[in-house]
Point group: C2
DNA sequence: CTACGTGACGCAAACGGTTGCCGCAAGGAA
DNA sequence: TTCCTTGCGGCAACCGTTTGCGTCACGTAG
């Protein structure tokens, strides 16, 4: 099969332990021996067996990432950021897509447990009590979700939401719709509260719709509800819903922008490519991912003696062409 | 720390081997013992250490997936399909995003080697000779890429391309542009050949542009080139380029559809959400992913005595609103 | 010249399971 | 009753590395 430490030991006339040290703990052997070992290992095409290595050392050079849905364009940039950061620190990423199916998470996390050095969990939907179970599987970091006693990177919706509502009022909108996300979504609770507060603060009347799943189709469905109501602007739980909404409104001959303003949340890569381009609240997913990796690796090193970190990231409004002054009636 | 086999052995008064069998090879122990062991294991919260398990058994219950760019919306559906299929067979997926950086692939693959039961590689860009090196790391399956002596799932562009050109001629187009993908891309070579043949067969004049990277920005840049030429329709290497193209054309006041027809390739989820909705050649990525998993797992079981599988999948044209009859001049 | 410190390396025990082989006891057949 | 079969479970080796500790030789100081 493949070349093992023992093979190299034989080839060099050294013991496996020396070879092991020469390769991974350079200071403990004579420089001459070290170089000789390394050269031979190289020549023989030696690749350390990570599995065996993990077994003794406990290190895996792997970090686990749990996301609800890779196909939702909000997540790939996060995943990419996590990968990039992990890769920079010599780790690989083990991904589990739980398919918006929260009940899988604990199961998946348990299985991953011994295989990874730490877990990054993006899980807007899982109920709190389940998350507590997860939290015991430290080191673990939650993204966009606050869990008591656990580290997390949370994204503060209120500022972006405030900007969004302010933007709409500046355009003359007085009745604004909000399309709720999934019922049990932590993010939705945050966003819902944020929009309520912002509207109250600006004297804007808020009309809520939903809940909706974060998918195009749900937005399509939402469009007709919105159209039948008398709101002049809509803020959607996320870009997916906003995009579906716009597609359907376009189809029905309603001009997004002139006839009705639409704001998404996430600022996913598609916002700029939709028609019209979608005004959206930028959520710093990539940054959150990168920070999460940093934290989880710190946690892994520190072996639990650090206190639970909570990093807050801010959102902000990106204005594009899906929002315009309210149409005169 | 956590509960090990030995703990359960102690608790049950059995030996570790019996416990092991009771848990993973049910037929070899007395049903009564088996149930007792399982119950106790359950109660004690035993979770097998996958790492240790892999070391002896050689099985990892992990399959590796190498993709060029998660952020390209063509890939998430493939990843999802791979995950789903793998998950159905009790495997988890280890993803490596090589960031359109082919030179990383072999390195990443080597590191993964011992950790996974098989490798699925989606790698349109890597040069052939490197791929040969990869191919030795069997079990391995290439998606959308033919490698001699190795299993692969390839996607035959010619049929879809034929339909696309036929569609355009039916709409009266006689001068058609093709936006080339990256220079060293295997897919692009396939597509380029396919479009040349199809145009020749239909007596359509073909004007080639590019190469372009498979990214929005490249499409934006392409737009001005296309606009300055006299083609009445364009087929882009992929949807990313097509979408960037459309965005820029829109911006310049050129109406995609009425003024110029655009066809993408991949039929990524965004095609239906762009404006106008994008006519695109559907590439069965999900199916390819699923098939690849099946094959790689077969390969892993069969330990090399099967001959290299090559599965061919067909493409077909999905007509939407970015293609219209040629405008009268 | 002896004693002791130190650097370089080897020994062997883990890590937590899996698995081939063997022994033992119970049951069935002769 | 005796012998053989069969089922069940234990023993121990092994997977490939890491790592604590011991050994050995050499150099230096007393």
């Amino acid at each position: 099969m493949s070349v093992t430490l023992a093979d190299i030991a034989r080839a060099t006339g050294l013991s496996a332990s020396t070879v092991s040290r020469a390769l991974s703990d350079p200071d403990k052997v004579n420089p001459r021996t070290r170089d000789r070992v390394r050269k031979i290992a190289q020549d023989m095409g030696y690749v350390p067996n990570q599995v065996a290595r993990s077994l003794t050392s406990g290190r895996n050079d792997l970090i686990g990432l749990i996301v609800p849905d890779i196909a939702n364009p909000f997540f790939p940039p996060i995943i990419k950021a996590v990968q990039a950061r992990a890769s920079a620190k010599g780790k690989t990423v083990l991904i589990a897509d739980v398919d918006e199916h929260p009940s899988d998470e604990i199961q998946r996390a348990r299985v991953m447990r011994k295989r990874v050095d730490g877990l990054v969990v993006v899980s807007p939907r899982t109920p709190d009590d389940r998350l507590d179970q997860l939290a015991e599987l430290s080191p673990i970091v939650f993204v966009n979700r606050e869990v008591k006693g656990a580290a997390s990177v949370i994204i503060e919706d209120s500022e972006g939401m405030r900007e969004a509502v302010e933007h709409l009022t500046a355009l003359g909108h007085r009745r604004v719709g909000y399309l709720n996300g999934p019922r049990r979504s932590w993010s939705n609770t945050q966003r819902q509260n944020a929009v309520r507060e912002a509207c109250a603060a600006h004297g804007v009347e808020l009309v809520e719709f939903g809940p909706f799943e974060p998918q195009i189709q749900a937005g399509v469905r939402a469009a007709d509800l919105v159209h039948a109501s008398d709101v002049t602007a809509v803020i959607a739980y996320d870009d997916m819903i906003a995009l579906g909404l716009m597609a359907r409104l376009n189809e029905r001959g309603v001009r997004v922008g002139p006839d009705i303003s639409v704001i998404g949340i996430d600022d996913s890569p598609m916002s700029g490519m939709a028609y019209p381009t979608l005004t959206s609240i930028h959520v710093p997913g990539s940054e959150a991912g990168a920070r999460a990796v940093d934290i989880v690796l710190d946690l892994a090193d520190a072996a639990g003696d650090t206190e639970p970190f909570v990093v807050q990231l801010e959102t902000r409004l990106i204005v594009r062409s899906s929002t315009s002054p309210v149409r005169e009636r």
